[in-house]
Structure formats: structure tokens, C-alpha cells
Subunit: 386 residues, 2 copies
Amino acid sequence: MREVVIVGAAETKFGKSELSYRELAAQAGREAMADAGASPEQIEAFFLGTFSPGTFIRQEHAAPLIASELGLQNVPSTRTENACASGSTAFLNAIFAIAAGAADVVLVVGAEKMTATPTSEVTSILAEAADWEQESKVGLTFPGAYALMARAYFDRYGKTRDILDAVAIKNHRNAMGNPYAQFHKEIGPEDIARSAMVADPLTLYDCSPISDGAAALVLAAADVAGQFRRPGVRVLGFGQASDSLALHHHADLTTLPAARKAAERAYRMAGVSPEDISLAEVHDCFTIAEIIATEDLGFFKPGEGGDAAKAGATARDGRIPVNPSGGLKAKGHPVGATGVSQIAEATFQLRGEAGDRQVDGAELALTHNVGGSGATCVVTILGRPE
Amino acid sequence: MREVVIVGAAETKFGKSELSYRELAAQAGREAMADAGASPEQIEAFFLGTFSPGTFIRQEHAAPLIASELGLQNVPSTRTENACASGSTAFLNAIFAIAAGAADVVLVVGAEKMTATPTSEVTSILAEAADWEQESKVGLTFPGAYALMARAYFDRYGKTRDILDAVAIKNHRNAMGNPYAQFHKEIGPEDIARSAMVADPLTLYDCSPISDGAAALVLAAADVAGQFRRPGVRVLGFGQASDSLALHHHADLTTLPAARKAAERAYRMAGVSPEDISLAEVHDCFTIAEIIATEDLGFFKPGEGGDAAKAGATARDGRIPVNPSGGLKAKGHPVGATGVSQIAEATFQLRGEAGDRQVDGAELALTHNVGGSGATCVVTILGRPE
């Protein structure tokens, strides 16, 4: 496959923003082009990852909207939607367009505007990413779905919520070093103990927040990347896999088979193993999800991810730093932006520009982005510029 | 670019259906695989073109939903959304995946379920494909937007509504031969004269209907297509282009610049000219749109498309048959299904299997699929199996 590199990356600050959807998306897009030293005229195609702007802000057909806002005249502009993995599938489709030879330079934006919608409605809209007819309309929301997974994990492996605490505390600490993060607030077990129960055993601090935000990447074929001012972060491997939306079809609630498949494909394509990875940005929409992710990705054996987090193995200076950005938990989770933001964070790390959240000697970064309760999973493996 | 062929195609009947969204999409997908003689195990990736299932039926994340319904285990499954051009962009992204070498055999489905939603809400949901902040929320709906285009066309070229009549009458006549069409009812100028005004000068018979439906295609790399039982219809060229969503940014309301760009790219890639095309399935969401399309595609000079329709040049036995299927006007317009359905119809024509709507000696078919009032345009050029 034609080699693709990332020559530009940008994120907006995540959180409750005064900016509109189109302003956030355009800001990220403009800043990624500025980072690359690319002009709008150099962009040959545009992909937008976004989840549900039709329900959040009554705006479908958002790809040409943002493309024209950015001055990308007449380029093919396409939205992809795969729930919380929308951003990563935009990234993969951009790679396919380049590898197919349909474009040499592509802009990818991920964006979501969620805070203009009342919280109860947000939960209902997010539930449209699950099987509406079989689950959501009878009352199963995502906090409920992940609470079932946490219960299953606790039961299977004899664990308690201290492993969840470890993830929340670490990710809040990591976000202190991330200027784009929604939360800059360290927490301890006592804060979690005092926090509201959302879906037993998940409390408020186990859940990623409702966020506005956008992120963007400029991708180029490696053979034309020399024209840009930044060194190209290499796309070494990727994998995408799917599964049924309905949780009741899943044989095992302590693992996401699609994440395992996606990871297997990405590792094989990149020709590397879990132990080669320098850092991972994983989809911790809930704390239990990070623990399961670190097992699905092969960093830890099944049942050992929680204890590993407790022991500091996933801290920024641990054996395998997980979510040095703060993750969805503390960086924030503007749904369509998340996958693109993970790759932008990996890009900053691999260029050695991650500031206070930099992982020393980062050579290989992995991103893991999940849609729903595992119905879509995308894993990418990125390498330091040569 | 690696050559791609269409080895399977299917459509459901369009119209008000008893079937749910997932049943319609799955039916089309199953029948396209049956047409190709492909098993679910042979499908390596899945693309779903769908517009707004989140608002119509509260179901986002529909790609893995339909994939698992079809028994496509763990394959990458991605939804694309570009308003009424969602189906065609799913088709193009499937081609990119194959050309990139990421998959050899891909299933594409387009689907929409619209009739379960009250008509006034449908119009409002469709208006989310326009610029909500600048147009839709202040009252401009699509019938209004296309009425402005019709007025501009009439004023510029000194025409009257008899040219619109010609399109509606032809497309209703063509649909008589299409078993998948929503309407099997011939109409005359007197029916149109008696019909309700929707947005002056557009009456009910100038507007495509609200529809349920799905269509599907099995695509394969030409180098592996020999394993399937149907001859491969060749994808010879394609083009996609975008424009601003807001109509007030368009300098000229009598043409869609993105359609001209997309057509220019498709003709160049295929190495053919408008006069080489045997038949075209074009995006007649409103009758005026077909007239403008036939000019944007180079079949007629600007201002001459309406008279050409009146003179029979676009009839099934005319110089360039346009919408032998009945078009969106009479075949129906389940938004996300439309682009895929156009390509399915072209496939049937190029295999000589279009029954009562067959165009004699069809060698090259063109499809033209528009999102919004021209913010997304996709043109494809397909060739008879070798």
C-alpha cells in the first residue's frame, strides 16, 4: 500500500465552548494546515468524522459545509459516521483515498458540539449509537451498558472498584499537562467516593464528560510529503473491525472482540508487537473501558489490566503509558473529534512536542477508538518521523 | 488505479414499506450477494450510505448494525453521509478501499426509512442537509431552494413550466416499466395543472416523493472478479466535488458548479465524452434539477435542456435516455439509497437485464447524484461487461 504520513495536526481546547460547530471544526482544520505549512489549494480531498450533528445541532451534510468554510474549493468532501469511532474511520478513509491514488494530500477533521444540548437529551442521542430497537428504547444507555461490563469484569476476576479509581486518578493527573484538556483538576479516591453514582458501579468520575471540540490532521502520500514543513509521522499499521450493536449478542462482556481483531490487523500490518509500543491513546469512555482496552490490545493478560493500572504500569512513566493526554475521561470526549484527537496526540508525542505530557523516547504510538459498546473498533500504529 | 467491477446489484421496491430500516437494508444486501453468488464470508468490508437515520428512526451507527444483520462477521463497516449523495460516496469509498488494496470484495448498501416520520418533520429533517444556521432555520426548505432555481432558469432563458411538465410526464412513463418504482401511474399536463402548488413554480408533480427503500452492490477488484457468477460491470470513471451548502453563496442558480466539476473529472478518468454515453440516471429531486443536470453533464447547452426534454431527446428511445428507471421523481427517493440505486439501475442496463426499461445497445451509463442544492455531487461512468 502507498505509504501515508501525517504532516500536520491540531486540536481545539475540549470542553464547553463559546464557538459553534462550524467554528470549532474550521479552527482545527486551519491550524492543522498551518502546522503543515499547507494552503487550502494544496488539499485535494476532505474527510469529516462526526457523530450526530443532525440531532445535536440540526446540521447534516457537514463535510461540504466545513470544506467551504475552510476555502477548500470543490474538493471531494465526505462525512463518515461510526459513533464514537467516527474520527478514526474518517482517518482510514482518507488513507484509502491516498493509497488508491485519488488524492495526494487530504485534510481530516473530527468535530462535535454537544454542550448546547440538555444533558438528558445528550444521553438519549448517544444511545442512538446502540441498537435502538433492541436496547436503547427499552432503557439501556451507555453508562448502563458499561456498568454491565464492569460488573461482569468484577465477577469474573474478583475485582473491586479500586481498579476503576486508579484509571480515573491517573487520567485526571495526566490531563494536568495537556492544555487542550477539558479538566485540569487532580482527583483522589475520596473525591470519587463522594461523587454521584451514575450506573452502579460507575460513578461520575468513571464517565467521560459531555464536550465540544475538534481535531484535525493533514495527511500526505509519503512520496509528496517533502513539500510540507513538518516531518511526517508514519502510518505503519491500522485495523478496523465491527461487531453487533446489541450487547446481548456479545458472548463475553469482559472483552471487545472487534478491538482484538482490529489490533491483530494493525500489529500484523505494522510488523510489531504490543511490547514494542511506546504509548497508547485508548478509548476510556468509562474507566472500565480503559482496563478492558489494555487487555484487548495485548498489553496485559485478561484480568490483569486493572491491577496493572493500580501498580502504575500505565502511568506516563510506567511500562506502557496509557492516555498520557488525559484520555476521554479528563481530556474530554466530543464524540466525532475523539479518534482524530487521539491521532493528533500521538503525532505530538512522536514529534517530541507533547510538552508536559511527553513520553520519553516515544518511537511507536498506538490509538484505539471504539464506537458504541464495541460495534466499531479502530486501532492505528504510528511511527516517529524518519 | 486498481480496476474495480460491479459483480452484484439489487434494489428493494421503493415507496411506503412495511419493512423496518434494518430489514430493508439487509434485504438489499442479501439480494446483491445472491446476485453475485457471493457468501457473507467473501465480503471483506462494508460501506453504508445513509442520510439521517438518527432523526428518522433514532438509529445512528447503522453500518455495523446492518453488517451484523447480514452475517458479515467483524469486517470493517463504515457509514458515509453526504445528504442525498450519501449512497454514491459510500460507493466511492468502497472503490478507494479496493484500489488501496485494503479489501478485494466489498458490499455497499444505501438505505433510508422516511415514511414512518410525519411529512412536515421529513421536510424539516431534509432541510438539515442545507445550511441550518444561514438558511433552513429561517425557513428555506428544499422545495423553496429548487423553486428559486426554477425561477432563475425561467428568467434567464425565457422558459415556462411546460419544460417541467415534460420531465415529470417522461419519468412517470418510464417508471411504468420499473418493478421497483414507487409510482406506476402515467400522468399528463392536466394532472399537473390540477395538482397542489408546493413552492411556486413547483407543484406536487415536480417533487420527488418521500420513500422507504434500499439498494446494494457487490464490488470486486477486477483481478479477483472471476470467482463470481455475474459478469463485472466496469467502473470506468468517477468524480466527486463539493460547494457551499448555502444557496446565497452560489453565483448562478441555473447550474451546479460541483456537478460540472464532478462530471469533468469522471469524463477525463473514463476517457469519454458526453456524446458517448448511452443512458444517464440523474438526480431529479425536482423536475428543474433534471433539466439543469442534463446541461451540467454536457448533454445539452445551457438553456436547452428543457426544450430537449420537451422534444423527446431524453426519452427512453431518444438521443440520450435520461432516467429510464423513472428517476427520483417516479421511482422514489429514499435518500441514502438513491445513489446506490442509480448505480444498480445502470448495472441492470449494462447487463441487458432492465426489462421493459431497457435502453437498446447500452454500452456506457452515467450516474449523477446530488446532495443538497449542489453542495455534494458525484458522477460515475460505468461500462458494459467485457
